[in-house]
Symmetry: none
Subunit: 232 residues, 2 copies
DNA sequence: TACTGCCGTTAAAAAAAGTTAACCTATTTA
DNA sequence: TAAATAGGTTAACTTTTTTTAACGGCAGTA
């Protein structure tokens, strides 16, 4: 399986079911559709899903029962109910069987997507958020973004200010590739203006000075575009 | 404050507002009611909440704007919108300003409660456990907030004043992440002013002195933003 | 080759942060 | 009750960081 988020959709109306499935796939998710509760449970047990979207009123086995069975084997999997039942009592039963959300039909597919995203943000955010690299090898040099420190193999040590560190980090993330002026200005200065561009030039000068510690390192200008950090 | 869950409710209709507040209190929550966006933001900055329930259409400042400002200082706090706007576009804007849920009026108080519980079930487990932690490991050091004591492995012991302890606690809760000046000033000094900012600087100096007991610990300044406590 | 807009550098100004000490205020102690 | 103490704020001054200004050079184009 890919690294996409896997959604199990159980919906007995084949039209609505495949419509939702197509939509979720178009939005970049893996989405498996099952058309009744038994098949849904079987699929869940065999697969590895990140979220379940369950219709409530289904033949053979209703969504609430299915949810309880699913929760029996995985008590943390997010579950959303999709249903025409808008009665208060039904909603309450839905939440009591462990729902994370409860959508009453008709709903827009966009709203479903938003609600799925809102839940996933909470449940899978914790693991995948901190992808940001904070530590870079630059030829002979060694750049620690958090400590804002540039260290050479000998006893060269250069403390950086926060703007210097921000800019060097961006350059490092685009090593041997163009860092567009506008990108850097918007990320660091939050605004692409004439004066901020002059300010950025001043920082490029400062960084060039620091990087002289390794003569192989070079920040070259790409006229009209931005800068490129070369490491060879 | 007790160990109850703290809910910030911002709702400009005083009838609905106090009805909801009473209900939540009856259900065992702490629930603070504010009647406009500015008061809501101020309350949030000074308090310590586990969840926000915000009306969207309010005079002075609408709920979406308020949500963004709140998210600016706390990017994990759960937010629920309560609103009469049931348009698809509004819902989408709501979720895009970082909502966890979006309820359209009229809704039953029971449903609100269910939805709040569903969100808290996800969030309270993970990080907000740490939120009211009173005891922190800081490299070699050991910080006991209640006793206002900083202890090192050997015989280093440093008693802290209450302001020192408050500030260190905030820094600890944001370890390796920026603690915004305005956040600290509002939480500890209850007001973001020039003199309080000078006062805070004095306390940062004091804390840096104490933290020298472990040379790995460092409080770095993020120019124009705030401070970051580094532990590695 | 001359024009024009982008870059590079240095210096100065401005803004933010850091430090130290004096100064309140409330509480404890003599 | 006065003195001592502790916690906290204000003030004055220093240093660091960032922005602005000025000017000269270079690249791309007419």
């Amino acid at each position: 399986m890919s690294n996409k988020t896997n959604i199990l959709l159980v919906e007995d109306d084949p039209n609505l079911g495949s419509l939702l499935q197509e939509y979720m796939i178009a939005k970049g998710y893996n989405c498996q559709l099952e058309t009744d509760g038994d098949k849904g449970l079987k699929a869940f047990l065999q697969g590895s899903f990140d979220l379940c979207a369950l219709d409530v009123m289904m033949p053979i086995k209703d969504g609430f029962t299915l949810a309880k069975e699913i929760r029996n084997t995985d008590k943390n999997i997010p579950i959303i109910f999709l249903t025409a039942k808008s009665l208060k009592e039904d909603k309450i039963e839905g939440f009591q069987s462990g729902a994370d959300d409860y959508l009453t039909k008709p709903f827009s597919m966009e709203e479903l997507l938003m609600r799925i995203k809102a839940i996933l943000r909470r449940t899978q955010g914790s693991e995948s958020v901190q992808k940001d690299k904070k530590h870079f090898e630059l030829g002979e040099l060694n750049f620690d973004y958090d400590r804002r420190m540039l260290r050479g193999s000998e006893d060269y040590e250069q403390k950086l200010t926060s703007k210097e560190a921000d800019l060097l980090k961006l350059l490092c993330e685009n090593t041997n590739d163009v860092l567009e002026r506008s990108v850097a200005l918007n990320k660091i200065w939050k605004d692409d203006s004439y004066f901020n561009a002059r300010s950025m030039d001043v920082y490029i000068t400062k960084l060039r000075k620091y990087l002289k510690a390794d003569p192989k390192l070079e920040i070259v200008n790409m006229h009209g575009r931005g800068f490129k950090l070369l490491t060879n």
